[in-house]
Amino acid sequence: MSLAIVRVEEQLYTLEQVTEAIQLPPHLLEWLVAQGFIELESQGIAPQQLRRLMQMQRLHRDLGLNWAGAAMVLDMAQEIARLKAQLRAYRGF
């Protein structure tokens, strides 16, 4: 039974890997980083930020949200998920 707790070194993706893999124009990625919607590590992009980028891309594509809106929806969805989990924990207690 595998379990890992707290911080583990993660594999980082290079900007080129990311833009190529999800077909995002490099200047758009630069812009998203400059706006603070996506955070970079010094050596590249963490998987968690790549996931976020892909989610933003889907929200943009599927729902017609702009990038700021997509970033906000993700932040709020995470907060709602956390609150729902908290509510479940307290109801069960």
Partner: protein, 306 residues
Amino acid sequence: MAANDFKDYYQILGVSKDASPEEIKRAYRRLARKYHPDVNPGDHEAEDRFKAINEAHEVLSDPEKRRRYDQFGQYWQQAGARAGTGYEGVYEGFGRYSSFDDFINELLGQMGSRPTGFGGFRSVDFPGQDVEASLLLTWAEAFEGCQRRLNVNGETITIRIPPGAKPGSRIRVKGKGQPSPFGGQQRGDLYLNIELPPHPFFQFEGEDLLCEIPITPDEAALGATVEIPTPTGKVQLKIPAGVDSGQILRLRGQGWRDPKGERSNLRVRLKVTAPKSLTPQERELYEKLRQQRQWDPRRSLQEVRL
């Protein structure tokens, strides 16, 4: 052909059979906003709904696919009514499909790409979504650390909670989140947010613990040594003479712990508590004290004006 095979795409989108392309687009957008998996992380039901909505939209938004789908719908109804007779009527060629899925796979396979959930990306092994969960621990479990068996996506895993967890601590369990929606091997992570129920005596104040102890007026005036509870047992606290109600004394290294065993401080807030009933002797002594008092704590109030 199974009778409950047929998927009513109009019903899935909540539109009538003669809905205009605009109505279909509007209905799709509205439902997609509501059930989009990125807006409902970890919600499998929403993800299934979203897939169905997408499939319905892919068929109904394309005039040719919609026409074929409508035809198949009529054929399916009649075939259902005359099961086993091989009836094909005016609807050419539908008899070769043994199920609705066969038909729709071919329709979407031939005339477009089958929607793969929310696919379109390939080539890199992309990780799945993170999952947020709350874990309610007792104060003792959080302080000492503990193991918990949790059911995550139908899989039982054992989690070790390191000692010193606090409300709001986040524990990351790598690779126990959602599977990748792109068929990759890498799963997202599970984040456990630690919750503690309110404690009758202790509460957190930043890194430190805060508690309140009642003391008597004479203890406040004269000082005293009192026994107070800490997370690891009772200790003696020396209260200096002349303390006020609300004053906080700090007990170094008697508060919460971190995973390495370092302890924060325990802050003890004093609450001067007056006796609610007095014996005749006590009353006499308090009266005497009042007569003898040289000190007026409200003297500075004389000067107060607006």
